[in-house]
């Protein structure tokens, strides 16, 4: 059950329009590593988790991801609301304006529309949680790619927050995975450690 609260999880106050950045940032909503995919993915996987540890974790994180969609919508609106048609033309984003005006349409950074093929739901908690961890890392690196494209502190502040949330979610999913692994008493073949001063990866070959 949902209740909407008229307050963002993190404040967004962007005063300078930037259509070019908005046209890239849209991927954080509708792209393969985006928040919309994350929210849907975790909601539909939750009922397949065998106990409350997994079910609670997935629904709570899914709810937070929807709140992140809201933050990004607020950012997109504020980045484009005072923009002119000429701003869209000069930012190579006129095709967005033609089809969607200043509306928010979930796509990736190349303009490919959101698709449910971005997410998987197998009913196997080990598989699903491993996918969830990969999704959080895709989102983290996606936010870092966006942060490299701007020096505007009004934009960097919410992006930094959103990026950090991916790291916390990654840890949460990892702990649920550990919980189910210990239940199954099975070893799995994976090629990376989980340590987050930055993510450390073992060499595959």
């Amino acid at each position: 059950m949902f209740e909407y609260k008229k307050v963002l999880e993190y404040p967004v106050n962007i005063t300078k329009p930037n259509v070019r950045f908005a046209s890239q940032m849209i991927t954080a909503i509708g792209g393969p590593g985006g928040e919309l995919a994350a929210a849907i993915r975790y909601f539909i996987q939750a009922p397949s988790m065998p106990d409350l540890i997994g079910q609670n974790t997935l629904v709570e994180i899914a709810t937070e991801e929807l709140g992140h969609v809201e933050i990004l919508c607020a950012m997109y609106k504020q980045l484009t609301k005072d923009a002119s048609v000429e701003d869209f033309i000069s930012s190579d984003a006129i095709n967005i304006y033609t089809d969607h005006g200043k509306g928010i349409y979930p796509t990736d950074a190349s303009g490919n529309p959101f698709t449910v093929t971005y997410l998987a739901s197998t009913g196997d908690p080990i598989t699903d949680l491993t996918e969830d961890m990969a999704a959080e890392e895709k989102a983290r690196s996606g936010y870092e790619n966006l942060m490299r494209q701007t020096n505007d502190p009004e934009v960097l502040a919410p992006l930094s927050f959103l990026r950090q949330r991916e790291i916390v979610h990654y840890q949460r999913f990892a702990e649920v995975l550990k919980h189910y692994q210990s239940k199954k008493k099975t070893n799995y073949l994976v090629f990376f450690f989980l340590k987050h001063d930055s993510v450390l990866f073992n060499n595959l070959i």
């Binding site: 209740e3 909407y4 609260k5 008229k6 307050v7 963002l8 999880e9 993190y10 404040p11 967004v12 106050n13 409350l52 540890i53 609670n56 974790t57 709570e60 994180i61 937070e64 809201e70 919508c73 607020a74 609106k77 504020q78 870092e144 942060m147 490299r148 502190p153 960097l156 502040a157 930094s160 927050f161 959103l162 950090q164 949330r165 790291i167 916390v168 840890q171 949460r172 990892a174 702990e175 649920v176 995975l177 550990k178 919980h179 692994q181 070893n187 799995y188 073949l189 994976v190 090629f191 450690f193 989980l194 340590k195 987050h196 001063d197 930055s198 073992n202 060499n203 595959l204 070959i205």
Partner: protein
């Protein structure tokens, strides 16, 4: 040669940042999960007390969420549960203060008209 390792997961210890605002601005209430990248969050300033009160609500809401997520994977951690309970009591107090100032952030408030008249949060300052 392919090296095969089993997955090793370190369970997070309870290391809540006592400075709730700092944890909120950073995006992690947990000192041991924070990872810096490019931007150092700055303190947010406000022109009036009501905006500041909404901000405090956001901070407490966030810490409540962080504790909730932690308890999902550590359901036996009594310290986290006690902290969450106390935090949620403070959240209710802040919500009541907001309502007294005609700011109802939820339609479940006792003064729902204030909710419908409240501007949506994506409008900015």
């Amino acid at each position: 040669m392919i090296y095969i390792k089993t997955l090793e997961i370190n369970s997070q210890t309870y290391d809540l940042n006592k400075n709730y605002e700092e944890g909120f601005l950073k995006g992690s209430a947990w000192e041991n999960l924070y990872s810096f990248f490019k931007y150092e969050p700055k303190e947010i300033k406000f022109n009036n007390d009501l905006d500041k009160l909404v901000y405090i609500y956001q901070i407490y809401s966030f810490i409540s969420l962080e504790l909730t997520l932690f308890i999902c994977t550590h359901p036996d951690n009594k310290e986290a549960i006690t902290t969450l309970d106390n935090l949620n009591k403070n959240l209710e107090i802040i919500k009541t203060k907001l309502q007294e100032n005609n700011i109802s952030i939820s339609h479940c408030s006792t003064d729902s008209l204030d909710y419908f008249n409240l501007k949506t949060p994506w409008s900015g300052k």
